[in-house]
Symmetry: C2
Subunit: 270 residues, 2 copies
């Protein structure tokens, strides 16, 4: 892994121990797919970072500076994951924000795991997500629920787990949004109560390819077909969920092609 | 502020940007009152840190090492706040814990704000706490709810705000546990759904001075008397909550004396 920290106009290799990102998870992050040395869908990721920062009242860093430093970090990477963390910066003890905020930006570059062929094997997580509309939708740094959910299994044959909220509504997987085809329509859970409004999810909704809906575990288990999606790996067909198996589905392939046409970073070998 | 970071047997002044404490809030913390260069109630704080780390599955550092480094950090401080952060350490990208965990310990020392006399002025926060029994009770690093609640006011005449959960039960203030005297008994909210099991709260319950109960906003507003408590400042009388005022109460004074007798770090000027 390769990292740098931007603070007060300087580039460093380390973080101050008094950063509020550590103390409280007081910040937001983005994970971008890097293809041919270029971060994909920058505009969409920056827009979501801004929405999250605004929701938390965190001052925004200069986009051009962050982009320039991010691009130089990943310039020689054919395929990689770029993570951008924005925090409220260093603070005194206590929850009150400092009077003058100097946000911290942490950039890290790491490998992208291979896409499992012919698709993901998923499980149901026991961990239930709390309902918190104040934090729903944004990609904030309070991720203990995902950590606990991911700790439920260590079988490498299971690629991800699906989470429900405490009212038994399906929300997402630990690291991706979920789409289910039911009665001929693609549905995906809302992110009004919990979950993250993913960038690929946003693209699919904007394309009219899917609509938001409330989904139960039974509906997802008996869906005609499922896929997960996230910025790092695009659209990921689901092969198995618990005891349910799905063969490859032409509609998922069609959506993957459509995404690759719009954003060539998501091109794939057929 | 004064800080050090313990990792892999070494003492540093900075944190690695890939620490999971930053990435996910994947850790727990303690805030201790330091009096005469000595952290008060070490045993109680260490015990709670262990409970939290165990709940999250984080490996425990060696107590003697942490205590030694903490004591050397605060040795020359007559009165201070010692914060101990324990994280799962550095990880690769992704929620799965690293195969070999090397926890990070961050120690910081800062000033203790003066106790407002003759007592706290509180408000009700609009921010509602999510119900999440998996994280309730422990002092984990996912504190955005407290940050949002504390951002609701900037009037320095308001010392703290009381939070309710999404089902309208009173939980705590942003930085303390809350006790209400109702029909002659001291009651404090349970921490089974959200909130932190504070060390002073634990001491009071163990003394038989109070019992856990479900409390509504109306009950708290119309209580005979209120106090807040946390490890940093002990028992804090409440003077006002919204439009309700309370005079000094002999029972709060008696409890403060009892705490000071048991733990002299909480001695106060009468």
């Amino acid at each position: 892994m390769n990292a740098k920290v931007l603070r007060e106009g300087r580039v460093r290799l380390w973080l101050e121990p008094e950063d509020r990102g550590l103390a409280y998870g007081d910040g937001v992050f983005e994970t971008l797919r890097v293809c041919g040395g270029v971060p994909a869908m920058w505009r969409e990721h920056w827009a979501r970072l801004c929405i999250g920062a605004t929701r938390l009242g965190i001052a925004l860093p200069e986009e051009a500076l962050v982009r320039c430093e991010a691009e130089s970090l990943v310039a020689d990477r054919a395929l990689a994951a770029l993570k951008i963390i924005l925090t409220r910066g260093v603070g005194l003890r206590g929850y009150a924000a400092p009077e003058v905020e100097n946000p911290t930006v942490v950039l890290t570059c790491s490998d992208v795991p291979a896409l499992p062929e012919p698709g993901l094997v998923l499980r149901w997580c026991k961990t239930r997500m709390a309902v918190q509309p104040l934090l729903a939708g944004i990609k904030h740094l309070n991720r203990l629920e995902q950590v606990l959910a991911r700790a439920e299994w260590n079988d490498p044959g299971i690629h991800d787990g699906i989470l429900c909220d405490r009212e038994d509504r399906v929300v997402c997987t630990t690291s991706a949004n979920l789409f289910a085809r039911i009665e001929g329509r693609w549905l995906t859970p809302t992110v009004a109560n919990c979950g993250v409004a993913g960038t690929i999810r946003g693209w699919l909704l904007a394309q009219g390819a899917a609509v938001e809906a409330e989904l139960s575990q039974a509906q997802v288990s008996h869906a005609e077909v499922l896929f997960a999606c996230n910025a790092l790996r695009g659209i990921l067909p689901v092969r198995r969920l618990g005891q349910h198996d799905w063969p490859a589905h032409p509609e998922v392939l069609a959506l993957r092609r459509r995404l690759a046409d719009a954003h060539p970073a998501y091109a794939f070998q057929e």
